[in-house]
Amino acid sequence: MEFLGLLNYWIVVVLMMTGFYIVIAHNNLVKKIVGLNIFQVSVFVFYITMAKVKGGTAPILAEGIEIYSNPLPHVLILTAIVVGVATTALGLALVVRIHDAYGTIEDDEIEARENEL
């Protein structure tokens, strides 16, 4: 029962580790960015999960609404999503430039070419 109650948090941990593993283990620079995205999304899910109040509705000031979910983490995560988008865009732009300069986006090939310089 406890496992099901914490299901969202388990998903967070699995996503986080998946993303982190991709960033570390993959050789392809675009895949690393994908991993970074998965890693960041896990944090978004984490924030949104902790804001949820059982039986709560949206935080609207209206008759009959007494329990509502905490809206603050949602706002924080909107900011974090914007930051994530900017990071992804910049990362991919750098990958394009790296491809122009080195002719490859495989990390080990780039490193081999750098060592020749």
């Binding site: 930051v83 910049l90 990362g91 750098e114």
Partner: protein, 492 residues
């Protein structure tokens, strides 16, 4: 008007960045960036004066009361940080004009100034804010702009350096927000002072401990704490000179400040930290950085990279001061933030002048440089003395207080590490001096003259400052000790 200074400190630079984008002309963008930086310095000095006179300044953004709204809290520590960042910016800007023209394609120069202003806004924001999530946002503003600035380097390795820094930096920032999220889960607050008041009551929960772990590793990545420093050497070595000067002198310093803030203000009331094993871990990592990075610096053939490794060692000194958890140790760290900023800024500026004239900073090209560029090389040697910690330099002042703090604690090994690291610094500075002064210039090499005055004057201002504040350190030390004491004072 004076009441709005805290907001203006960040907003001016933030608004000036898009102005550069509209102007497009390199000289106009440079003028805007310079004027804004100088105004920011004036604001920072006035804020520091007010803090020293009347104590903490609280500024609720948009009049939303804390802890719900975002509040700027300025005490001696961050007022001093604001001055360090804007001071370095103000000296770098005149230097940047010629250096950037030589190193960045003309049609990209205005973009550089735009990114510089965003970076300045981000760094000032980190230093001024009293809200842990707001700090994350500014951290990302400054990081994203620094990735772009590094990638502007001429060498194609600048691109991969920027990419690797982006990946590591993003992991660090994400770790930081995981930590913030966990603190928010247990306390329901994001305001630093409010967190400091609530955390002691819930300090036994595992969530808070895990949060502290995430925050430590996240900020450790940002400040290049050994062994999380791998992004730094290439990023500093291949970035344009002006960028290296600015980032080396301010970027990691502000991250060290954030680290201090989290540990001493937010977790100030929590005993787990002061009694736990964390200080020992930090001290060991710091000592490894001081000795390991200095040893690696000796074997570098690129002098910018050599200085980058020396920066990692110097960050070790700062972390060592933090790990002592005493007023003297922390004051040593804070004064070293300032001292290292001016001396490393000066040394990287010397590299900028050499790159400007001979187009490379490979050590084997330095032969005879003592005769070919005497003013620049003299500045390098003078700055090198400071890095080693020769008396009358700022490097000596920082090391003196760190050694004193270590003796107070009876940490003999830390004293030995400081001495060993200084001896290693003698070796790597000597290697450069030996090549530049005691080897004849290669036959047939053109007579090299000095870089333009607009680069030499800022260089000598920083080198001169590293002697001025080394001979009369009372001003900086007074502020550093006052700052360290406020960090140990019970929260408001």
């Amino acid at each position: 008007m004076a009441a709005q200074y805290p907001a203006l400190q960040v907003v001016l630079a933030l608004l000036a960045a898009p102005v550069c984008l509209i102007l497009r002309r390199p000289n106009a963008a440079w003028a805007v960036a310079t004027v804004i930086t100088w105004i920011s310095l004036a604001l920072a000095l006035s804020l520091l004066g007010r803090v020293l006179e009347t104590g903490v300044i609280l500024y609720p953004m948009g009049d939303w009361a804390a802890p719900w709204g975002i509040e700027y809290q300025i005490d001696t520590v961050n007022a001093f940080m604001l001055v360090i960042v804007t001071l370095i910016g103000s000296v770098v800007m005149p230097f940047a004009r010629a250096s950037v023209e030589a190193e960045i394609e003309e049609e990209r120069i205005y973009l550089f100034y735009c990114m510089y202003l965003l970076n300045l806004a981000g760094l000032l924001g980190i230093a001024i804010t009293g809200d842990v999530f707001n700090l994350f946002v500014f951290l990302e503003i400054s990081s994203l702009s620094s990735y772009v600035m590094i990638s502007l380097g001429r060498d194609k390795r600048a691109l991969t350096a920027a990419y690797r820094y982006l990946v590591i930096g993003t992991i660090g920032a994400t770790f930081y927000i995981i930590g913030v999220g966990m603190m928010y889960m247990t306390t329901g607050s994001l305001n630093m002072a409010d967190l400091a008041a609530i955390l002691p009551a819930v300090a036994d929960s595992r969530t808070v401990l895990v949060a502290l772990g995430f925050l430590t590793v996240g900020l450790g990545l940002k400040l290049a704490l050994f062994p999380l420093h791998l992004w730094l050497p290439n990023a500093y070595a291949y970035a344009p000179s002006a960028v290296t000067v600015f980032l080396a002198a301010t970027g990691t310093k502000v991250a060290v400040y954030a680290f201090i803030r989290i540990f001493f203000t937010v977790f100030g009331g929590v005993e787990i930290f002061t009694a736990g094993v964390i200080p020992q871990i930090l001290a060991v990592l710091a000592a490894l950085a001081m000795i390991g990075a200095s040893a690696v610096a000796i074997y570098q053939t690129d002098v910018k990279r050599l200085l980058a490794y020396s920066s990692i060692a110097q960050i070790g000194y700062m972390v060592l001061g933090i790990s002592m958890v005493t007023v003297t140790g922390l004051a040593g760290t804070i004064v070293h933030l300032f001292n290292h900023a001016i001396m490393k800024g000066g040394l990287f500026m010397a590299m900028g002048c050499i790159l400007f004239k001979i187009g490379t900073v490979q050590l084997d090209q330095f032969e005879g440089l003592g005769k070919r560029m005497p003013v620049t090389m003299a500045a390098f040697v003078a700055g090198g003395f400071s890095l080693i910690g020769v008396p009358l330099t700022v490097g000596f002042v920082s090391k003196w207080y760190l050694v004193q703090a270590a003796l107070e604690k009876g940490w003999w090994l830390a004293v030995a590490a400081i001495l060993a690291s200084s001896l290693l610094a003698v070796i790597y500075i000597w290697r450069v001096v030996e090549v530049a002064y005691f080897r004849p210039p290669p036959k047939g090499s053109a007579e090299v003259s000095e870089a333009p005055l607009s680069m030499l004057v800022p260089l000598w201002i920083l080198i001169g400052a590293s002697y001025y504040f080394g001979i009369d350190a009372t001003q900086t030390l007074d502020i550093a000790f006052a700052a360290a004491e406020t960090l140990f004072a019970p929260p408001l």
